[in-house]
Symmetry: C2
Subunit: 203 residues, 2 copies
Amino acid sequence: MEKENSTLKSLKATEKEMRKNLILQATLTLFGEKQISEVSMRDIAKEAGISAALIYRHFKDRDELFIEAFILKSQEMITTFEHTILEKEIILVEDIGKEFVQYLVHNPLFFKMMTYFMLDHTLVEDHLERFNTTIRELLAIFDTGFKQSGLKQNVRLHSHAFFSALNGIMITFHHYPGRSEKEVEDHIERLTSLISSLFSKID
Amino acid sequence: MEKENSTLKSLKATEKEMRKNLILQATLTLFGEKQISEVSMRDIAKEAGISAALIYRHFKDRDELFIEAFILKSQEMITTFEHTILEKEIILVEDIGKEFVQYLVHNPLFFKMMTYFMLDHTLVEDHLERFNTTIRELLAIFDTGFKQSGLKQNVRLHSHAFFSALNGIMITFHHYPGRSEKEVEDHIERLTSLISSLFSKID
DNA sequence: TGTACATCAGTGAACGCGCGTTCACTGATGTAC
DNA sequence: TGTACATCAGTGAACGCGCGTTCACTGATGTAC
């Protein structure tokens, strides 16, 4: 009895989790299609094939839903990026730069969300903390690169500088006016390799 | 007659220009107080002490008003920054970095607007062009620094990289969580000087 | 096996609001004769 | 100097819309006896 009961309960819980995930996936799909601030609860409901009211059985409000979608996407990023970097024998600062920017270029959705949350003042304390935990995990990977290149001092400071410089390249040039997608990517690659080479000549 | 007529006409034109400027100033004031996307036409009218309908006698729509406000602020930035840099005898890359970031830190309004327009996809072609003209003027100043430091090749590429790296520092860390304003400024300064020193060791 | 009750996913409609923009109008000032 | 007309800054109210969120309700499924 007890056992069956708890199995049923956990089944139900899993189902609930899956429905919640369905909403999150619909949200992410729409984030890819339009400006994040323009995605409405009705849009999401329609995309998920449910009524808007149902979303509120899973998320407190729009803010919470958006943050959870971002956290989900961030964890995916960390996992992929960590895997790409840590499988290498020698972790070069140059590789980290290249791979990170490549990830951003090929996952514009993650990039879009990251900048959205970086520039939005209105994030509540609690949510901001979750966002920053993710960023810190990423910075830890950058640290590894600098340590392996022999840097002894100010490792985290270098990671901050390198990380933010790469962000800056993306933000400043991803909408380079009047250029094709290919040209933009090439330019971003050139800038990334210039910055990366500066950072790897440190020791 | 002819002369008086034209004087009167130009007086009227000046008056009109002043009223237009009043609206622009009200817009900028509100940009400083809240998120740019949250500033409404009614807010602006209230701040300027006029009715919302009057704004439409001076600007085609909200988009045009916002762009003109940004152009105004950008020209102010260019003028100030150019003056600060070009009065120096030797123009060091390090100084450009320091002064530019200092300008952004002390003029959060300009910084806010710049990032708003960089990340907003919805800018019309024509407006985007005006925005980029401003950025190019700024890059020209960066170029001067690199040329004076003896850089012969890829000057504009270096300016792009340096400029975007500084932007990245600002964007990534201006909301460093749980730190005081002073601590944030110090951190940004440290990062700026690290990046600047990398860029000035080039030749 | 049957019945009364509890739980809860799910919904359509509505609430209350603020938005960008337009409209029809007023009234002050200038112009022509 | 007086009068008829044109111009135009300026306005309050309204239009039409979409938003986040809540409410009262349905109906399916599980539970207890």
